[in-house]
């Protein structure tokens, strides 16, 4: 006979929410196990340290637990949960002394004529991503994400790491779809620029 945990693991998020709203703690615990790792990873990148990420995680799930009765079935649970997490991240950030960049201007992110002359298609483009992603590049990538302005970092993480749509991301961060797209583009440009030398080095090492 199938165990209770295995049965719960097969249910959709909103089916678990319905059970949680009926007082089934095990259904809420299944939702926690689905999202805790993802929220903690995002929390570490948003807060910049493990302790704040841990506090954010607890605050998010406790708020979700207390507010689950108010969740409406037509909404998407993951969007609702990440909305709560976003507010928790903002509270953590206010306590933090870490100071990322405040703005990103397009002018500094797109290549000027001088840089355009030096750009060439390097051999690394054919390198599989798992071969390319070594410790040095991972460190540079983490650093780039960490120094992004928080509102751009959140959008990059939600769109490119978590896979939310532009519309869902807008609902989570409280911004229009066009603002989400603009922040995403700038965040991607900034990250590319941060890794630019790595790409060039990779290309020249193959020559």
């Amino acid at each position: 006979m199938e165990g209770n945990d295995a049965m719960l693991a097969k249910l959709q998020d909103n089916e678990l929410v319905t059970r949680a709203q009926q007082g089934r703690h095990d259904a809420f615990e299944e939702l926690v196990s689905r999202y805790a790792g993802r929220l903690y990873s995002m929390g570490r990148r948003m807060c910049g340290n493990d302790d704040d990420a841990k506090d954010m995680l607890q605050e998010t799930f406790m708020a979700a637990f207390k507010g689950i009765d108010g969740f409406r079935a037509e909404a998407k649970f993951s969007v609702w949960l990440f909305q709560i997490a976003k507010h928790a991240c903002m509270r953590m950030r206010r306590k933090s002394t870490f100071a990322p960049r405040e703005t990103l201007s397009l002018e500094e992110l797109v290549p000027n004529e001088e840089e355009l002359k030096t750009l060439s298609v390097a051999d690394w483009r054919r390198t599989p991503i798992d071969k390319l992603l070594n410790k040095e590049l991972q460190g540079a990538l983490d650093e780039a994400i960490q120094v992004l302005p928080p509102d751009h970092r959140m959008v990059l993480l939600l769109r490119d790491v978590e896979g939310f749509s532009a519309e869902e991301t807008g609902q989570i961060v409280g911004a229009s779809i066009s603002a989400v797209k603009s922040r995403l583009h700038r965040a991607r440009l900034f990250t590319r620029k941060h890794l630019h030398h790595f790409y060039q080095d990779q290309g020249s090492s193959h020559v």
């Binding site: 703690h25 805790a36 995680l57 397009l106 355009l116 790491v161 066009s178």
Partner: protein
């Protein structure tokens, strides 16, 4: 480009115009005609081709970030905090 809207580009785009719509291009949000215009430009513009390649690779790298397992101490503390919440709620019922 402001946050309120993405810039439109011409049917024969310049390098600068392409830079402004790269995100939408990669995400498949541009019309077929604009995609073809960008690809035609890139075919004759190695710097733009390289820029698009590095931009695309960057997105791939961000998207393939390895998932970090939740540390067991964090998991235990979360479970304990939720248990306290559940017990408090059960007592009020």
């Amino acid at each position: 480009m402001s946050e309120s809207g993405m810039k439109n580009i011409s049917s024969d785009p310049t390098c600068e115009e392409i830079f402004t719509v790269l995100s939408e291009y990669i995400d498949g949000e541009l019309s077929k005609e604009l995609c073809e215009a960008i690809e035609a430009h890139n075919g004759n513009c190695p710097p733009c081709q390289a820029f698009v390649e590095t931009y695309t690779k960057t997105i791939e790298l961000v998207r393939t970030q390895p998932a970090e397992p939740l540390p067991s101490a964090v998991k235990d503390e979360l479970s304990a905090a939720l248990k306290r919440c559940q017990d408090a709620l059960d007592q009020t019922r």
